[in-house]
Amino acid sequence: MGLSDLMSMAKPNIEARNKILTRIGGKELVNCFQCIKCTSGCTALKLLELKPHEIIKLVNLGFVDELPSSDIIWTCVTCLKCVQRCPQKASPYQVIIALRNLAVEKEAKVPEGYLKAFSQILETGQVDTYQKIVTRKMETVDRECLKLPKICSPREKFQVVFMKAMEEKTG
C-alpha cells in the first residue's frame, strides 16, 4: 500500500517523519509548493548532493531514513537566505537543524569540523581562535604587539551551562 521508491525500493517512514515535524514544532513544511527559491539562492548548493527543495519534499513524503546519516545536513552554512525568502514560511533550514540534532541523538558520524568548533567554544568561548596576521609591510603581528587586551578564557560556569544547553537541544 501507499508509496514506494522504485529506485531504492525504500518505503516512507511516517513515524520518523512525524518525529522530525514534532521537533520543528510546526507544520508549515507541508505548505511547500516547490517554487525552488531556496535552491536557487542556496549559498552551499554546489557542495550539496541533495538540494534544499528536495529535502523538504523527501520529508513531506516520508523518505527520511537516509537523511540523518547523510553528510548533506552538515554542509548547510545556515546563512538563512531560504528562511528570509521562502514565500510559504516552509524553508528547509528548520528541517536541517532538526536532522542535525537527530543525527547526534542517533550517534551518527558528525563531521570533524563541527566537533572541533564545539570543543573550541567549550575551551575558549570563541567560535574561532584568534590568529596572527601579516601586515602590508610583511610583519607578523599578534594581539599582544598591537597592544590589544587579552582575551579571557570562559569561566567554569559557562561550560556547565553550555553543555546543559547542548544536551537539551540534542535530547
Partner: protein, 594 residues
Amino acid sequence: MHEETFRRAVAEAGLNSYLTEIVNLREQVSWAHTHEPEKATEKAKALVRMGVARSRILEPLEKRRVSVEKSVLVVGGGIAGIQASLDLANAGFPVYLVEKAPSIGGRMAQLDKTFPTLDCSACILTPKMVDVIKHPKITLLTNAEVTDVKGFVGNYEVTVLKKPRYVDDKKCVGCEACAQVCPVKVPDRFNENLTQKRAISIYSTHAVPNIAIINPDHCLRLKYDKGVCGKCQEACEAKAIDFEEQPETIQVKVGGVVLAVGSEVFDALEMAELGYGRFKNVISNIEFERISDASGPTGGKILSPKNGKTPKTIAFIQCVGCRDKRFHEYCCRIGCMVTLKQAILAREKINEKVKIYICYIDMRAFGKGYDEFYRRARDMDIDFIAGLPSEIHESPDGSLYFDVYDKGTDKLLQIHTDLVILGTGPVPNKDLADLSAILHASRGADGFLLEAHPKLRPLESAAAGVFLAGACQGPKDIPDTVAQASGAAAKALDLLSRGEIELEPLKAMVDEDLCSGCKICASICPFLAIEMKTDITEGKEGAKAEVIEAVCQGCGLCSSACPTGAIKIQQYGNKQVMIQVDAALAESWAKGGK
C-alpha cells in the same frame, strides 16, 4: 436563505410569517460536533426545547415597505464602472459615475494589448469611454471622491467631493497650449512615473473628458503666490483657467451603489531581494505595458529604461508579491497570462533573436482560450524555467544576472539579461478601508471587498443595495471584470425596477419611559439609525432616543449597550432571551443540577 422558505411555508398555512422560529441543527450541531454524536444529540434536544419555548411568545410582525430612488451611484470609472454605468443607463436609469482620477479608463487604459486575443486595449476601451460621456443618462464626475453615504437600501444620500481642476470644463477645448508653456515638470502617473509631464496637462492621450488639469502640489501659482507664473493663463485662448476654483460638494440621492474601485499593483519595492528600485532595468509588468504601448514613453518600442537600447535578453519572474505569506497569500490570477502576453509582444515587437526566459512556479492558464494562448507562447521559442530565482544582481556593465535552479533539467542556471520584468499582481486599493467604512461593505482577510456569499451571491456586498464589480472584490482579468460589472448592474436594476422594497420588520424599539437620554445607542449605531429628540417631561428638558425605522437593520448593538434596557429589538427582548435560558437549563434543574 432557508429562513425565507420556512417563513413562506408558515404564511401559506395562514399564520403571520414572523411566528417562525428556526433551530439550526445543521450548522450549530451536526457540523460543529461531528466527532461527539451523543453529546451532539443532547445539544440538539436542548436547542429544540429553547426554540419551542421561544416560539410560544413570538409576536406577529408586518414587513415595512419603502420606495426606491430610481438612480444608481457607480464608484470607479475603470472598465467595471464603465460597463455597469452603460448597462444601467441603457436600461433607462440615471447613473452618477464618480472617478477619482481626472479621466475614466482605469487600469485597462494603461494596457497595450489584451490576452488572449491580443487586441489593442485602447481600441476596445475608448469607444466605451466616449459612450459614457455622451450618454444623456450618465452624470460623469471625474477628479471626485465619495466622502459620505447616509441612508439605507433604496434611499441612499451620497456626498461627493469634486476637487478643483482649476480649468473650466465647459470652456477647455483640450488643445494643451497650456502644457507647452508650463515650466514645471511632474512625474506622469499614467505612464507609471516613467516619464514627466507638465504641472498643467491632460491626464492621458485618450483622456475622457479631454480636459486639462492643474496639479496643485506642483503648480507654482497654486503652491506659492498669486503673483508668480500664470503662463498657462496667458496661453489659453479659451480663457478656461481659473486659479480661484474651489472644491465643490455635490449631494445626490440614489437607490443603489455599484462599487467598482478596482485595485492597485503590488509595489515590488517591498520585495527587496529582486532589486526593484535599485536596478533601473528591473521593472514591473505594468511598467512594461506602458513601455510596450504605442502612446507610451517609447512610442511602443521595447527599450531598456537604463540605456534606451533594445534588449537582447528578457527575463520574466512570476508570483512577485502574491502566493507569498510575507505579502499576499492569494494567487493574482492574471500574472501568468500577463507574462505570456508580454513575452509574445516582446517576441513580435523586437525580433526573432531576442532570448526570452520565464521563471515560474505553476503556469495557470484557466480561462477560455487561455491554454491555447500558452501554447502560442511556447510555439514562439520562449524558454520556460520551472523555478524562481532567490535574488537579482547587477554586473558592472549594467546588465543583470541571477541564478535559478530548473526543476526540469536539475541544473543550476545563471541567466544574464538586459531586462527583468516582475510579475506583480493586483493588491487591494488603499481607499477600500475608507469606502468600506462609509458603506458598511465588509472586507475579507485578503483586504478585498467581501461578497455576500462566495458562490451564490458573488455580485452583492452584505450591505443591502451595495453591489460589487471588478477587481475591488478580488483579482480579476478583463473578461471576468466585465461579466461581473454587467451582473452587478443587473442586480441593481432588479432593485430599481421594483419601485418599492420590503424591509425586515425586526428593528429596535425604544421604551420612552425607561430611556434616560444618555445617547450611547446613537453613538454606537453603525447605520446612524438613532436620533435624539428633545423631550419635555414635567417641565424639565431632556432627550429621548428615536429609531429611524427605515434605516434600522435590527443588528442589536444598541440593545446590548443600553444601560437602562430601554431599547430592544423586536422578538429579541429580555423576555424572549430569558425564556430560552430557562428552557436550556430545564433538564439540568430536573436532574437537580445547579
